[in-house]
């Protein structure tokens, strides 16, 4: 049976402002408290909270997301994970004050799902960053090929032959993959 808090995941997928407002009303205060208690500001808390929701959305849109614990606990898990990453980058102290009372019902599957969400978002960010470093012709061709058009249609749009478009796509993908692999983040992300 579906967890009742799955409605918040649906609200993210459907951009339902009323249910999303309920989510903020119920869960934002605890996240804010956790971040303020651990060297963060309210702006940090706002960024982490929004980022966490976007990472849930990005994972959920692939159709592979089923909440098995309360949303509050799940959000807390992701926000804590993200905040630890920020503190690591800032080289300040680690999270020490956390309030996980009542969260002992989080199962291994939820930990994995939370980790997947964060990983998925970091992968997407790295891909977007590397894509932006590429030349315009590659960027255009790749974006068109990911827009749902067939390679035949991409070729027609770019006024090139089908064989050229296909060859060019594999060259552009080779460039993108080389850039991604050269990043120090590459090995820490599951592909």
């Amino acid at each position: 049976m579906q967890h009742p808090d799955q409605k918040y995941v649906e609200a993210l997928l459907n951009n339902d402002p009323l249910v999303l407002e309920e989510l903020y009303e119920k869960f934002s205060a605890r996240i804010k408290w956790m971040i303020l208690q651990n060297s963060g500001t309210e702006t940090d808390a706002a960024d982490i909270f929004q980022d966490a929701l976007m990472s849930i959305y990005n994972k959920a849109k692939t159709g592979d997301f089923e909440l098995t614990c309360p949303m509050e606990a799940f959000l807390y898990l992701i926000c804590k994970n993200k905040w630890l990453n920020v503190l690591n980058k800032r080289k300040t102290q680690k999270v020490t004050n956390t309030d996980t009372e009542g969260f002992n019902y989080i199962g291994e599957d939820s930990f994995r799902l939370a980790e997947d969400c964060v990983m998925h978002q970091e992968r997407s960010a790295l891909l977007a960053e590397k894509l932006s470093e590429m030349g315009e012709s590659c960027k255009n061709l790749l974006k068109l090929s990911w827009s749902g058009l067939s390679m035949d249609e991409v070729a027609k749009k770019l006024k090139v032959s089908y064989a050229y478009a296909r060859k060019k796509k594999s060259e552009c993908m080779a460039k993108l993959i080389t850039l991604v692999k050269q990043s120090p983040k590459f090995n820490s992300l599951k592909w």
């Binding site: 459907n14 951009n15 999303l20 309210e42 976007m54 891909l127």
Partner: protein, 255 residues
């Protein structure tokens, strides 16, 4: 190396012959490095396809979340547009100018006998629809945010908010009315008519502004046959004492 990329692309594209396909699959099973490259290629393709496919929705969601962030966190990460800026001299000047324009419009409307239904509809849009009242209760805050955006003439943002509310709450007729109103003031008359038709079809409403707004839109569009269609609607509104019947009665006198 590039040869491998070409093979992967052809395989995923379905452009290999059966023989090439089975040779490639055999190679995949035996060559670990090729297998890893194949997985990476596939992951990137899928993730970027999804990113492109959902980019509009993602932007709309970010917009909603930024607004909620502004409300629930003191120092918002994204700026929240204030509904009114206090002590803003240009704004006050604009208000004075708007007041003068209103007086002139009223003067013109009162003393001129040249009021046509089209002109009356135009005046109605300018006087009644350019500013929406914040009458919703607290629970419907997204509508209020939409109204604030609308009153700031940020029509695109307002439309996104109203459409999002209506998509998830099809019983919210206010959201539908506001969607239509955005289309009306941005002169997308065909879309406005579609929305007001949907609103008019909601028979369960005690008071329904759909038909009146449809007549206003037809008069604004003013294509062939629009004026006659608007007249028929206004007559029906008066006859059934529907919402807008007082204005409809006056407008019909000027026909």
């Amino acid at each position: 190396m590039n040869d491998n990329f070409e093979k992967i692309e052809s395989y995923l594209n379905g452009s290999m012959t059966a023989e090439e396909k089975s040779r490639f699959e055999k190679e995949l099973a035996e060559n670990n490095e090729l297998q890893q490259l194949f997985n990476l290629y596939g992951t990137i393709n899928t993730e970027m396809y999804n990113a492109e496919k959902y980019s509009d929705r993602e932007a709309a969601l970010k917009n909603t979340l930024s607004q909620l962030n502004g409300k629930y966190f003191k120092e918002p990460s994204a700026p929240v547009i204030p509904m009114r800026q206090k002590n803003s001299f240009p704004r006050r000047m604009m208000a004075v100018a708007a007041g003068l324009i209103l007086i002139l419009v009223a003067y013109f409307a009162f003393f001129s006998n040249r009021n046509t239904p089209t002109r009356l509809a135009d005046q109605y849009v300018k006087q009644e629809l350019m500013h929406l009242s914040q009458t919703m209760d607290g629970a419907k805050d997204s509508l209020q945010q939409g109204i604030a955006a609308y009153n700031n003439k940020e029509y695109e943002k307002a439309l996104q908010l109203f459409e999002a509310v209506y998509a998830t709450h099809p019983d919210n007729s206010d959201a539908l009315r506001y969607v239509g109103t955005v289309y009306l003031v941005t002169k997308e008359y065909d879309k406005a008519l579609e929305k007001f038709d949907d609103l008019a079809a909601k028979k369960e409403l005690f008071s329904n502004a759909g038909p009146f707004l449809k007549a206003v839109t037809l008069l604004q569009r003013n294509s062939t046959g629009d004026k006659a269609a608007a007249k028929a609607i206004l007559e029906e509104i008066v006859e059934d004492k529907q919402e807008g019947s007082t204005a409809a009665e006056q407008w019909l006198k000027s026909w």
